[in-house]
Amino acid sequence: MAHSGINVLFEGRNLIRLFGGLWTTVEIAAVALVLGLILGVVLGVLRTFPSRLLRFVLRLYLEFFRIIPTVVLLFLFYYILPKQMGVNLPANQVATLVFALWTAAEMSDIVRGALISVPKHQRESGMAIGLSRWQLYRYVLIPQAVSLELPATINLVTRVIKTTSLLMLISVMDVINVGQQVVEANNQKYPTGVFWVYGIIFVMYFVIDYPLSWWAKRMDKKRLERANG
C-alpha cells in the first residue's frame, strides 16, 4: 500500500469530476441567490408597509423557512410535495427553488431590519418634498438600507453557499456527492484518499467563501469608521 492518498485526485477524470460537481454547486447557488435576493428585497420592503395582514403573511413565510431545517425543506419539496400535489420538479430545480425561497425569507428580514433602522426623519423629509411611496423607497430608504445591510447580506450569501453541501441528500450531483463517489470508489486502493478529497473540497469552498466574508468584514469596518468619523 505505497499509494499516496493525493494520487486519488489525479486518477482518471477524478479532478475534473470534482470541478464538475463544484460547477453544479455554484450554478445552483448563484441562480438561487440572484432570485432569492431580489425577491427578498421586495418582501423586505413590503414588510415595512402598514398593512397588518400583509406583514403577518410575510412573517409567517419568514418563520416557516427559518425554523424548518434546510434538509427538511429539501425533502419536503423533493419527495413529499410531489406525492401530495403531483408537482414533480427535477432535483436541481427543487434545490434552486428551496434555496431561493430560503434566501428570500432571510433577506426579507435583513432588508426590513435595515429599512426600519433608517431614521424616521429621513422618511418624513422625503415625504415633505412630495416623494411618492415608491420614490421614497427608491431614492431615500433603499440606498441607505443597502449600505447598512450589505455585510449581513454577504454573510447570508456565504451561508447559502455552505449549505449547498446538503444537496446530495436529494440526489443533486454537487461537489460533496461527487467527492463521496470518489472516496468510496477508491477506499481500498487509497485508504487516505478521503483526506485529500475532502481537503480539496475544503479548499474549493474556502476559495469561494473566504473572499466574501473578508469583504463583509471590510465593509462593516468602513461603515463603522464612517459612522464614527
Partner: protein, 287 residues
C-alpha cells in the same frame, strides 16, 4: 391604507408565481444532469408509458463498490448498473440514473422520482409494505470477519464481547434482535467500521458476507471466520407499490436473464475482481 396592502399582497403572489415559472422555465431549458431527471410527472409508470417516454428512471447507488459506484472515468458501473443497463436495453429505452442513498430509496419510488430501484435493496417485511419487490437477483447473508490470529468462528465466541457493525445494516438488525448478548459497537460508514476493527475496538466485525470477502482480499491478516449467520437475505428490484405492469415485466425479465446466464456473466465482470477466490458465483447469484 388597508386597501393598499391588499393590492401589494396580490403583487407578492404574482411575484411568487412568476418566480416558480422562471424556475421551471430555466430548468427545462438547461441540460439535465446525470442524476436529476427532467421527465414529465406521471403518477404511474407502466411499461407502455416508459416505452412511450423512451427512458426508464432507475435509482442506483453511487458510492457502493462493487454494486453501484462511479469509476475514475466518471462512469456508473457495478453489478446493479450492468443489470440496469440490460433492463433498459430489453425495454428498448434509455436508462436515466438517479443516485440515491440507503435512506431515500423508498421515497424516490413513492414520490415518482424513479420507476425502478436497483440499489442493493434487501427484501424485508417492512419494506414490502411500502414498495413492491420483483424476483430477487442476488442473495447475501451476514458474515463475521476477525483477525487471523484470534479468529471468531462461532457465534458463541461473541457473547459479551464487542462486535463492530454499521448502523442500518442487516448485520446490525440481526444481532440486535437474535443475539442480544453480543455488545454492538455501531458506526456510520463502512470506512469507519473497518478502521475500528483495525484498531481492535472490537473482537470482530459483522456485515454482508460478500462485502467482507471483498475486504479481506486486500487484508491478509483478517479472515471471514463465520461465512454465514442467520437467515439468507435477498436483494431484488423494487417498483412503486401497485405498479403491476412494471412488476410483472421485471419478474419475467429476471427469469429470462437467469436462463441466459446473464447474472453469472455480471458476477464475473463486476464482483469477482473484488471478492477473490473465496466466493463462488453460487454464493451470490440465485439459480
Amino acid at each position: 391604507m388597508k386597501k393598499f396592502g391588499f393590492k401589494k399582497l396580490g403583487l407578492f403572489l404574482g411575484i411568487a408565481a412568476s418566480l416558480a415559472l422562471v424556475l421551471s422555465g430555466c430548468g427545462s431549458s438547461s441540460k439535465s444532469s446525470s442524476s436529476a431527471s427532467s421527465t414529465k410527472s406521471t403518477s404511474q409508470s407502466t411499461v407502455q408509458q416508459i416505452k412511450k417516454r423512451g427512458t426508464i428512471r432507475i435509482a442506483v447507488f453511487g458510492d457502493l463498490p462493487p454494486y453501484g459506484w462511479v469509476n475514475k472515468q466518471g462512469q456508473r458501473v457495478g453489478y446493479d448498473l450492468t443489470l440496469a443497463r440490460q433492463i433498459a436495453k430489453d425495454l428498448k429505452v434509455k436508462p436515466k440514473f438517479v443516485q440515491v442513498n440507503a435512506n431515500n430509496r423508498v421515497d424516490a419510488l413513492n414520490s415518482n422520482k424513479v420507476d425502478l430501484v436497483l440499489a442493493n435493496f434487501t427484501v424485508t417485511p417492512e419494506r414490502k409494505q411500502v414498495v413492491d419487490f420483483a424476483s430477487p437477483y442476488m442473495k447475501v447473508s451476514v458474515g463475521v470477519v476477525s483477525p487471523k490470529s484470534q479468529p471468531i468462528t462461532k457465534a458463541s465466541q461473541l457473547q459479551g464481547k464487542n462486535l463492530i457493525v454499521t448502523k442500518g445494516t442487516t448485520a446490525e438488525n440481526y444481532f440486535t434482535s437474535k443475539q442480544p448478548n453480543v455488545k454492538l459497537l455501531k458506526f456510520d460508514s463502512k470506512t469507519q467500521q473497518f478502521n475500528a476493527l483495525k484498531n481492535n475496538r472490537g473482537v470482530a466485525l459483522a456485515d454482508d458476507n460478500s462485502y467482507l470477502y471483498a475486504w479481506v482480499k486486500d487484508q491478509p491478516k483478517y479472515t471471514v471466520g463465520i461465512k454465514s449467520i442467520g437467515p439468507k437475505q435477498y436483494i431484488a428490484p423494487a417498483v412503486k407499490k401497485g405498479n403491476k405492469s412494471l412488476l410483472n415485466w421485471t419478474n419475467k425479465e429476471v427469469t429470462s436473464l437467469n436462463n441466459k446466464g446473464f447474472f453469472d456473466k455480471d458476477y464475473n465482470s463486476q464482483l469477482k475482481p473484488y471478492f477473490g477466490k473465496e466466493v463462488k458465483p453460487s454464493d451470490i447469484v440465485i439459480k
